[in-house]
């Protein structure tokens, strides 16, 4: 078996649970919130949002680690916190994810950026999202509904854990798109994210927004 066939097989194996997950979450029609039931921890001081976010992700994966341990590892310092470049290595060190990558919203196609997040959550894998470049939260899921009057799959909301503000917060889909400036996400958790766009792209609408993903062919 040559390398490319192995890669294709791996991609198919990776895609199978994704497609399965997508059929029972996005467009399920009833607007029921879905999510990871992420644990929530509040940050222990004003510049520990990243350590607290990694702590939540680690706890989701069954690892208990203190914020001070994480802070020492990722170089969190007062007053402005953790260098962005250290977040993905911190995730790799303390969670079950080993291939975390940093994605910048400013330089990533908007639809793809969102599709990566949705794919990861549908695959049962957390991510960390940055708000306005200087605060981070951990999305836990969201809600969609199918509008039979127009055939739209409407992305209503995102549930997330905010280490400074509280647990299980709900943000409209449109506001989520506006706020998130970067994310740290497991690369393998996003495999097949373009299939989401292909499958749902033109029928997806976002609550509180007039945004429409451009038609695309993959």
């Amino acid at each position: 078996m040559n390398r490319s066939r192995i890669a294709n097989l791996a991609a198919l194996v990776g895609l199978a649970p994704l497609l399965l997950a997508s059929t029972c979450t996005i467009g399920s029609g009833d607007g029921t919130p879905f999510g990871l039931n992420m644990p929530w921890f509040h940050q222990e001081n004003s510049y520990y949002c990243v350590p607290a976010a990694i702590q939540m992700w680690a706890a989701y994966d069954g690892n208990r680690v203190s914020q001070t341990t994480i802070a020492a590892s990722v170089g969190a310092v007062s007053p402005n916190g953790t260098p962005a470049a250290n977040v993905a290595p911190g995730v790799d060190r303390f969670t079950a994810t080993t291939d975390a990558i940093y994605e910048d919203a400013f330089y990533t196609d908007r639809a793809e950026f969102n599709s990566m997040q949705i794919t990861s959550i549908s695959n049962g894998r957390p991510l960390i999202a940055a708000f306005d470049q200087v605060h981070v939260v951990v999305p836990s899921g969201g809600a969609w509904h199918y509008d039979s009057t127009n055939g739209w799959n409407v992305w209503d909301s995102v549930l997330f854990q905010d280490p400074a503000a509280g647990a299980d917060l709900v943000l409209s889909g449109g506001d989520w798109m506006d706020r998130v400036s970067a994310m740290v996400i497991g690369a393998s958790a996003t495999v097949g994210f373009k299939s989401y766009l292909n499958q749902y792209g033109s029928s997806v609408r976002v609550g509180g927004s007039t945004y429409r993903a451009p038609p695309r062919q993959y």
Partner: protein, 288 residues
């Protein structure tokens, strides 16, 4: 619906009456974006049920209209059909209270000092903050923000182990919490609650108190989760232009290192400044 009561507290009425004029230190939205904001407003006003930007009372002008917009959007989620185990923490009480009309509301105004003030689609100089109370017990169950358009923005609940801080009259917070600890006063009519997410976290669940004094702006962080702190954003503090992504990538060469001794504060667009923590007066009680 008829049993849903609207509470009108004195300070929210005063805030709405105009003598406490809203203000911001944020950068102006770009003039070239105004056409986009106008287009969005037209879309909201022209939307019909089923649209992602439909609300029954576009750009609500009264507390009742704000509540009507929230209820329409909340009921549209149909969370009563959801598995209760999948609902956000504290949601079951909110849901039953709304469906059975056993809740009361208070509508406040939060000034938006966040980058979302000049959003990619809508301009939101402020948020309507809905406080949802259980009518029988008076417990505050949830806080929700709506954009000026009436479109829903955010929501968070109280739950076992997490309660909201009270939101008294801003002048009272100044008088009882800020002045005794820091010896700082405010220009008359300048106190207001703000939302700002960043290194200084002023979420809608725990908005910060902002006020002006002598050309400087102050932000007082009141949070149930973090120590209370007062920050000063001096009028003569340099403003720095940073490109998108610079802050999160740590590309801060535009800021002299000796100036970077406080948290960065986003003023909107590409404009940032540095806030300074104000030390407590000697002997001030470490009130949390």
């Amino acid at each position: 619906m008829s049993r849903i009561l609207t509470l009108a507290f004195s300070w929210s009425m005063i805030a709405a009456s105009g003598w406490a004029a809203p203000w911001t230190i944020g950068a102006d939205c770009r003039p070239e974006d105004q056409a986009k904001y106008d287009q969005f407003e037209q879309a909201v006003r022209a939307a019909s049920p089923g649209s992602t930007v439909y609300v029954p009372k576009p750009y609500p002008a009264s507390d009742r209209q704000v509540i009507a917009d929230f209820l329409y959007q909340y009921r549209g989620w149909h969370w009563e059909r959801a598995d209760p185990r999948r609902l956000p923490r504290g949601e079951a009480r909110v849901l039953s209270g709304i469906l059975e009309s056993t809740v009361t509301f208070q509508v406040l105004r939060l000034e938006n000092w966040d980058a979302t003030r000049c959003g990619s689609e809508q301009r939101s100089d402020f948020y309507y903050l809905l406080r949802i109370f259980d009518a029988a017990s008076g417990d505050e169950l949830s806080r929700v923000t709506l954009h000026p358009s009436g479109l829903w923005a955010t929501k968070g609940n109280s739950f076992e182990g997490f309660s909201f801080l009270s939101l008294p009259d801003p002048d009272l917070v100044l008088r009882e919490e800020v002045a005794p600890s820091y010896g700082v006063g405010a220009e008359r009519g300048s106190t207001q609650y703000i939302e700002h997410l960043g290194a200084i976290v002023c979420g809608w669940m725990a908005p910060c108190l902002a006020f002006r004094q002598g050309g400087d702006a102050y932000v007082f962080v009141r949070s149930p989760l973090l120590p209370r702190k007062l920050f000063k954003i001096a009028g003569d503090e340099p403003r720095y232009v940073l490109q998108p992504g610079d802050v999160q990538r740590g590309r801060l060469a535009a800021i002299p290192p000796e100036r970077l001794t406080g948290p960065l504060f986003h003023l909107g667009g590409n404009v940032w400044t540095v806030a300074r923590e104000v030390p407590k007066r000697p002997g001030a009680s470490p009130r949390q």
